[in-house]
Amino acid sequence: AAKGAWCPACGVAALAPGTQRDALLALAKQSILAKLRLPARPSVPQPPARGALLTALRRMRAPRSDAAATPGMLRDGPSRFASLLTLLLVLCPGSSTPRSVHLHFRFSQEVAGSTEILQATLYLFWAAPGPGAQPVTVRLLQPDPAGPNLTVASETRLEVQRSGWNTLDVGAAVRSLFGQEIPRLTVELEVPEDWGSPLPSDHSDSHWPFVVARARARTPHRVHRR
């Protein structure tokens, strides 16, 4: 604390025990919110279905097989960065047609405003209805600067051989979002005619798509003088 001002510990020590505890609890809340750069505690969340959450956490920890994977993406080794965040974004389903659906993944303002994305991966589960390769298209959409519509930022065609999880690197798309007012990633999935909806019908199904992102707190530029 500044010269002559009470430091938290000294100030608290002078209080009566009951008041002291309340003061320390208030200090703990303020300290955590400040470090998380949150103006207030988030309102009561709507957590995803338990099955979907457990599956997502398991997928996050498993080493990924595709080329874009980095070994142990979420291994908790010593972090080279000052403050590393891992985000698991839950899906907000958007509009859909018999063959396609829009998926929305929204970043909170606090995260978008104070971090830089190191990596972001979209996890999709395909339940192929029959044998043989099935063509599937995944489009990353971005707001059209000239109007309210969305434009295609990138399009990826996949050949789904059998049911299972696939991952797609969406890091560049997410980074471009962080400069916008509403940082929301929109993905369009299109499947063959006879597949029906690309999403599980039951919301508690554990195969809902999700996004995992790793970000680094944007710390002010520090100059180290020797």
Binding site: C7, P8, A9, C10, V12, A13, L24, L25, L27, A28, K29, S31, I32, K35, L36, R41, P42, S43, V44, P45, Q46, P47, P48, L53, S79, A82, S83, L84, L85, T86, L87, L88, L89, V90, R106, F107, S108, E110, V111
Partner: protein, 114 residues
């Protein structure tokens, strides 16, 4: 470092645990169940300045004698954290996304005199 206890008035670490259930935060903080907001409290008489931290040796003993004798050069010595570690949090943000982050220097492991 020393943990506060009994009637010790010297610089020590005071343990303080905040149970997130007690403050109604268990609905948005998934892990951990609480926060060890330990803090440093107690007196730092002049001859304890810099302790612990300087190896207990002949030099320390001589240095303390000199400091205790030269009360005129009284300098404030404060009881401050000397070892801290991160607080790992897993929580829901306001869009119900799950965030895992490590906040550096949040848990005080030991205290000492400046």
């Amino acid at each position: 470092g020393i943990d506060c206890g009994g009637d010790s008035r010297m610089c020590c670490r005071q343990e303080f645990f905040v149970d997130f259930k007690e403050i109604g935060w268990e609905d948005w903080i998934i892990q951990p169940e609480g926060y060890h907001m330990n803090y440093c409290a107690g007196l730092c008489p002049l001859h304890m300045a810099g302790a612990p931290g300087i190896a207990a040796s002949f030099h320390t003993a001589v240095l303390n004698r000199i400091k205790a004798a030269s009360a005129a050069a009284a300098v404030d010595s404060c009881c401050v954290p000397t070892q801290r570690r991160p607080l790992s949090l897993l929580y829901y943000d306001r869009d119900s996304n799950i965030v895992k982050t490590d906040i550096p220097d949040m848990i005080v492991d030991s205290c000492g005199c400046t």
